[in-house]
Symmetry: D2
Subunit: 299 residues, 4 copies
Amino acid sequence: MREEGDGMTARPINPGAETHIGVRHAVPHIGAITLRDYCGTDAAISRAARVSYGRENADRGADADAKLIGFLVRHGHTSPLEMAELVFQVEAPIFVARQWLRHRTASVNERSLRYTEPTADAEIMPAAGLGDLCADPDPGASKQGRGGPVPVAGFARVMVRDAFHRTAHAYRGLRERGVSREQARSVLPLATMTAFVWKVDLHNLLHFLRLRCAPDAQRETRLLAEQVAAVVADAFPLTWSAWTEHVRDAPHLSASAWRALAGCLDPDALAGALGALPERERRETMSLITAAWAAKGGA
Amino acid sequence: MREEGDGMTARPINPGAETHIGVRHAVPHIGAITLRDYCGTDAAISRAARVSYGRENADRGADADAKLIGFLVRHGHTSPLEMAELVFQVEAPIFVARQWLRHRTASVNERSLRYTEPTADAEIMPAAGLGDLCADPDPGASKQGRGGPVPVAGFARVMVRDAFHRTAHAYRGLRERGVSREQARSVLPLATMTAFVWKVDLHNLLHFLRLRCAPDAQRETRLLAEQVAAVVADAFPLTWSAWTEHVRDAPHLSASAWRALAGCLDPDALAGALGALPERERRETMSLITAAWAAKGGA
Amino acid sequence: MREEGDGMTARPINPGAETHIGVRHAVPHIGAITLRDYCGTDAAISRAARVSYGRENADRGADADAKLIGFLVRHGHTSPLEMAELVFQVEAPIFVARQWLRHRTASVNERSLRYTEPTADAEIMPAAGLGDLCADPDPGASKQGRGGPVPVAGFARVMVRDAFHRTAHAYRGLRERGVSREQARSVLPLATMTAFVWKVDLHNLLHFLRLRCAPDAQRETRLLAEQVAAVVADAFPLTWSAWTEHVRDAPHLSASAWRALAGCLDPDALAGALGALPERERRETMSLITAAWAAKGGA
Amino acid sequence: MREEGDGMTARPINPGAETHIGVRHAVPHIGAITLRDYCGTDAAISRAARVSYGRENADRGADADAKLIGFLVRHGHTSPLEMAELVFQVEAPIFVARQWLRHRTASVNERSLRYTEPTADAEIMPAAGLGDLCADPDPGASKQGRGGPVPVAGFARVMVRDAFHRTAHAYRGLRERGVSREQARSVLPLATMTAFVWKVDLHNLLHFLRLRCAPDAQRETRLLAEQVAAVVADAFPLTWSAWTEHVRDAPHLSASAWRALAGCLDPDALAGALGALPERERRETMSLITAAWAAKGGA
């Protein structure tokens, strides 16, 4: 049975996704992601949404699709986004995989240290170089690793490398004495590399990206998530554009903050400022403003 | 085994929820909801969130809980909200149940027309009075039932009642001729009453309420959902308050709309206007504003 | 963007699934299913399972895949089966769709009677012919529709047709008087046709088939589910074969029944009888027998 | 707001569960589990199942409940089991938590090494004593840790202890040099302790127990899972009894194995042997046998 390589299919084809199939996107010292399979396209998402209206067979063109997808994403009607699916191979240290797999709405098959064992230093000690170590920007705060790379004295690296060597030594010692892999693994560090197949629909993938590409996400996870994001941006350009506009880059304002800000808006400037928005969104935004003014006035 | 009525428990107790246990909240001509069981409180949600920080045993008091829950809801850290669970008995017509059960992250046991049959006109024709019929506000648009109650000529009610009578007649005729319940039910109208146990965690329940209490939700579903909302507001006052402030009543602005609006803000008025916000939210809101100004200036 | 028709892809290709893409499999008087898209193959399932062992790149051939998939299905290691996904268009009456969509682990977009309205008698009254009506085999029991088709007097059909005509009449009457679609639909019968896109992974699809192809499933749902089953059997022959052998056609015996039966086994006949089983399964089956004998002897 | 300690509730009370609330069940050198909250009882499960029949208000007594729950579990009608929910606090090493949290249908809040840091050797090196190390029963096979405890030379323990000390040293060294917690943690071993709140419904909990209490499960995970199992057995005695009888201890036989075994059954012994089974199960078991004989005869 033919499995890999170019072949004919009767399925919808996603040109942006096709260019990534089988291409390994690596992040030095951390890991890599590779798109293995997918189903769905921006057009398929639009078509699924049009089923609600009984118009799934209408061919509306990319402009109508863009408008519809913008509407879906803006109003949180995300079920059509579940109609696209992506399958990635992910290589990452265990402490990154732990965060990744906390996202429950995905299918996963992961390498097990019950059935395999790290054979090379490269696997036991992937982070021996440790990439870029980041200092706490504010050691007293709970915020993590956002200070950007800072020089860590060579002595620290030596300590880490030494700890990893002892760890590898202990692992092998236990194995040689007949201790099972599943128990011996307990001495391995959280930096040990793992690999997993990760199959996820586009709605849940975008939720993952919102959390894991955020500035306060762990740096190692974020760098891999950004590789995933680049694939998504190529494969689903209309959905990506709607999502960055209406979710990723949208401001989170509370009801109180919004009422306060609405009171600072210059009414005379609004018409001009909002003129560039799509008609429907302009109307909805004006409604929000007048509602806030009314609430304010009433208060 | 003792099952109902007041008894002693070592579990956390939710005073607001207790007052609703076993109380049937009915909506005339549509249905009813009854809280049967629950677990969790606002304090339990806070405690679950503090597990991340290894401080789950600290007793911080309601003020600290309110602040923490506000932070969780504002930043979309919703997993602690899954720690509360509610079990409702719901009675509703099938066309409402269809929307309700489209929400997949819940546990459900529903009455089956394979095993029961409507025995009284009240069950086959619950909507014979049909409650308030709502005209299309704009017959050409896809918007539904938002015109508020309007008089529907008595003749229309007569037609509906007649259709229901024929339907009931056909159902009984098929049953008398030995046709199975599961097939005979196909003639029953979507207005036929059903009942189900619905167990859902608070995170998914709030998502349900956001969609089903919205102004554009189906009126019949919305009226029942508002009864559910009233129970939630009593049982989880801190979470409810955070959710209305940061989700339900928060404005949905796109990145473009926000940049446009930021340009209309009067800088001199801001400090005063935002002064009433909690310190951390005030700071984050100012960051959003200056980022929008910078993006604007850079463009 | 190219969407339909044959094209080149770098993805794994499933020859059995390809032959079904876009082919509408209809069941007269009930509905139809059409495969729209898929990802995955038997080989991809095996490969995902081999990730656990770090051997996902080994090409083992169909025999090794069959053996591995048999092992996975027999031992309930179902996560690799989630790696295949199928997207169907389903057309069915609402009472069938209600059962279908009770399966929660799937993605769905369904036609809405809030946005569309049945325009032809064929849509309002799909079951006017009512296909084959089935009598209760045992009118006193709760078992349903298993008596096979039986003649239902023409008079019953006339009643049903009359009820549907009145229903359609009432629906149109309400609409003409300006009642919204979402309210007017409440008079429509459960036999009204609906349509939905249904995306589901192979593990959850097989669970659906186990329940909905069972002899006690509702006849109308079963006939459509059997069309889905035929597609799955063509697309995933190894998984299908393992599943029928180890799940669908496997006996459900309790621990007590098994101990009782083991006591009735003729020890001399066993070796010959089990000789045809695969070596590993033969060994595991013998272990079950000797364990039951030991439990029996011990009691 | 009252949170802990005995108080009055109008909810159904589960006497078996109440005795475990707040009781920490520890496994030396490995971890502990503590029941924090619950909802549901065997009777509530039965009542939910009776909703299908419209008989949820009937009080049937424990015998009828036992019979109904046996039927549900035997036939895989598991949705009523979702109506019970349990909330545990779990303390375990990370390599155990990784397996535990692979079960996706649960709600989880876990301690994060981004926000906390191990302060005592006891936390960094919980397994320094390493409990019982288990040798591979068959070093060439993939089977793990099933040889029972075996003596591991004191030298191996010294190596492990040394590796843990170096690890702890490296962690502290990195922290002192200002490296963030989220990066420094990468040197910590998989044996590092973690803690999490785990909320799961009874259906998914039993699925967890089936896999994690199995003889081939990892020993450390199994020992903790058995503590969970003991709580479930006390809290849901009817469901537990049905599940051990129809799932945990039931034989997994393929269709082929069953046909082969049926041919070895002594027909004269059957009636006596099956006499002790409940009537309905006896009938269903005889049907399986005669069907296998017929298939055999036909082949």
